[in-house]
Subunit: 523 residues, 2 copies
């Protein structure tokens, strides 16, 4: 028996999208459109009783111009399991047609899409390639889970009939990966990009530096990576490494092909022990501290009274800005417990504007909110409390806020105290807790208009290998993705739980190591 | 190949106790006495080249008077694997002879023993039954690991020849088990007593009450256990329960037979949420708080301005004192963050003396040190720092101190961040960290004379079942036991690591779920 599925459309209409219970089921022919496995939930779904579209050996994917790369990616995703050739052509049929609107549809914006599915074809429309890409992720989720197989499967390759109109609630839907505490090679970061982009996550924030490791090559400061690229919190040879600038450029390119924008972070003035081990002149006494592999925080600080500190910061900011096509450059700023408060504010007043000088928007953890320069920045709210008067004040003065409350979005928190790996300093976070909050109203005093979006950080103290990244991220990352993408009125735990339970088969089929939460009935 | 084993005797002589390398080995006959598996290390070991004692079908265990129950326990421990009858008799031979000294040997004190082993017999002498019991634990560890089997095994049941003279460094060597966060039934507590008494642990501190549960029946306050005996931090029906007064008496008796003294703890004025759920009059506003299952601390407080608080405290103290033959009654006193500081001191000044009124010695976590009444008490040092001026001042004024530094002795801390279960707020603790400190000099300003001993607390937030108790306790509990029992000069990581590695086979044979630390070469 399939359970009835309902979805709010534009927050007004409540429609039963699938009522294919045992008695109502009509043989092998699928019913009207269902979004059983679609995560995040689309903004509007209008089911149809018409016949579905069926992918066959004669199906083509049509696209021209800027739509072609997206079409090629869709074809590559659908060919292995279907075994069909699915050529990408300018025209033809029966087709999955990807087309950019000649005149922009204002409702769709840059990332929205419209999907119309009938027996004759699938028409996907968007203003921009990012919207087409989002729409293709929905198409993949509308197909049976066997579509995830890497070799030919027998299945009914139908896409149910109906119309979906969809767009994101917030422009920023991020994931963060900490490469400092355990370095993970570019191939693993790409696998993570593959997975998160399926859920319409559009920013990947890379935490590139911390006390235990410095992971990005900086010209003129070679020891940052040759000395500072050690094991992080890793043991027995795990955890070390760094990205060359070529590696970083390649990651940026790979992510952009999936409409994910890389946000680089270099954390300062705290969390700099690895840099100071490499360059002792960055300490006030000029003495190199010992390398650290423990998980403590708050003990290191750049020397805010030395000019070399600002030469260092500007070199790093200038090079990262040049390497990064995306709009944001994250300067950390958190937990600088060993920097005097006045020194901290003076430091931020001097370095935050450097980001703008090199053409980027400054971004930092919420502690930067007290610096006047933060009013032009993006502030990442991470406290496990709903009150931060400095953030509220900065938002009132013009700052944008990304919500990453630690007790809801930190993917490194354990699911419960017995799940292996992860920390629990902000509590444990089961998938229902990750889902059960509203980014627009969470931080008291921060109005919805100031909220740029949400982000799910994944700190890597316990992430010894890629499997542990997946285990911590899934299924909580899709919860955060839905909070960021889907309209508030579509947020519904019962619906999400059902869709996630159905989605699990897709992870299983492609070998994703996810946490089988007891709160979910996995199908 | 067996590795050479050396041990300091009385801190002066360094003797090779076993040099049975490949070339020196002389066939199946064992060499001189070795203490390869003896944990904690005995104070003095004098090996002999004489023939060993062999347990055979004709061996008897001889004992009279108060030595008989200890002899019966030894016989019961040796019969299953040897298959020999090992009758306990007043006289006869060849014998393992247990005898209380007619005239006390001052060096041995109450818990020391002398063990002389030759081909003709084993002579175990002590001033008191507790010393005989300690000596029988050493005898068990001198036999081959097959002795742990529960059915007949073929092995060379020899005890190597030599003389051991042994006594504890500190009079208090404790383990603590938290029954509040997860209740564990008496049968599991007894299994834990069996295991810890092998390592000459002589106190078991039971943390009977906390925010999440109240686990001891108190006459006149029935709701403490009927309402307050809930799941603790447990889920899905686990974690609930309580001890009746009869259960508690039975545990006290069972422990005493193994020379383990129960120390009951009722925690106040904080950590009392479960009591307040049951009896809202214990709050200042008279309103029942919600039951708690999370792991937070510091939010609850008895109302120090109400007389009912002191009636409650006195009822509990009077009944526990009557139920407890041991000298100590622990009143908690930790983390009372919701009690005003002056109120806290006034509360302790009033309740600590109640313990003496009912014939016991007051005992509390280190926060009590600031109350003047604590100078007559035992103070349990738990901070993960080596400085506590209030504890130093109380010790100077006469208080005794038990060392339980959280970053060394808390068995609920994870071994590393990836071991399942356990917390890590005080850091991770591998077995070498648990072993590598000295209780006599750890707390700055607390002189060695003020140190009563050591204790290894095991908080139960993650202890869903008995296997998890074992996993957290072993092999770290033996490390703490050796710090508490063996002379300072015998503390040696290399030696401990070798003996622990050999001991592991005994845990394996009796099915103890221990952590196979990568720092140990398990044989």
């Amino acid at each position: 028996m399939r359970r009835p599925f309902t979805l709010l459309i534009a927050g007004v209409l409540l429609l039963p999208l699938a009522v294919t219970t045992g008695s109502a089921a009509s043989g092998p022919a699928p019913g009207p459109i269902t979004v059983d496995s679609v995560v995040p939930a689309p903004a509007e779904v209008v089911p149809s009783r018409a016949a579905p579209f069926r992918i066959t050996a004669t199906t083509v994917i049509t696209a021209t111009g800027a739509a072609v790369p997206v079409a090629e990616q869709l074809a590559a995703a659908l060919r292995p399991a279907t075994g069909h050739p699915l050529p990408v052509r300018a025209a033809g049929g029966p087709a999955i047609e990807l087309r950019l609107n000649a005149a922009a549809d204002p409702w769709l914006g840059d990332e929205g899409y419209r999907l119309e599915i009938g027996a004759g074809g699938v028409a996907l429309r968007a203003n921009r390639p990012a919207g087409l890409f989002a729409g293709t992720q929905t198409v993949r989720q509308l197909l049976p889970p066997q579509i995830e197989a890497t070799s030919v499967r027998r299945a009914d390759w139908t896409v149910p009939a109906g119309v979906i109109r969809d767009r994101p609630r917030f422009p920023y839907r991020g994931a963060m990966l900490d490469l400092a505490r355990h370095f993970h090679p570019p191939a693993d970061v790409k696998r993570y990009i593959d997975e998160i982009s399926r859920f319409k996550i559009n920013y990947l924030h890379l935490h590139l530096t911390d006390d235990q490791g410095w992971r990005i090559e900086i010209d003129g400061w070679p020891r940052l990576t040759t000395v500072g690229g050690g094991p992080g919190t890793g043991v027995r040879g795990l955890g070390g490494g760094h990205l060359t600038q070529d590696d970083y450029r390649d990651l940026v390119r790979y992510a952009a092909e999936r409409y994910v924008t890389i946000v680089p972070e270099v954390d300062m003035p705290g969390h700099v022990n690895a840099a100071q081990v490499a360059y002792p002149e960055l300490t006030c006494d000029g003495v190199a501290p010992r390398p650290r592999t423990d998980i403590r925080v708050g003990y290191s600080s750049l020397c805010t009274g030395k000019e070399v500190t600002y030469r260092f910061a500007e070199d790093v900011i200038r090079q990262l800005a040049a390497l990064t096509p995306g709009p944001y450059l994250h300067l950390g700023g958190d937990e600088a417990h060993s920097t005097g408060h006045a020194d901290y504010l003076a430091f931020e007043q001097r370095v935050l504007p450097l980001v703008a000088r090199y053409g980027k928007i400054a971004y930092g953890w919420q502690e930067i909110a007290e610096a006047p320069a933060a009013t032009g920045a993006v502030i990442q709210y991470w406290a496990a409390t709903r009150d931060s008067p400095p953030v509220a004040a900065a938002a009132a003065a013009g700052a944008k806020v990304v919500l990453s409350p630690a007790d809801r979005t930190y993917l490194d928190m354990q699911y419960d105290l017995l799940t292996p790996g992860g920390l629990h300093w902000a509590g444990t976070i089961e998938v229902d807790a990750a889902y059960g909050w509203d980014p627009a109203t969470w931080a008291r005093g921060v109005p919805a208009e100031a909220v740029l979006g949400v982000e799910a950080p994944l700190w890597s103290e316990t992430l010894r290998d890629y499997g542990r990244i997946e285990f911590q991220a899934f299924p909580r990352l899709p919860a955060i993705a839905e909070l960021g993408w889907s309209p508030r009125a579509a947020h519904d735990w019962t619906s999400f739980r059902e869709r996630l339970g159905a989605y699990g088969r897709r992870w299983t089929r492609r070998g994703v190591h996810f946490y089988r939460s007891p709160r979910i009935r996995w199908s």
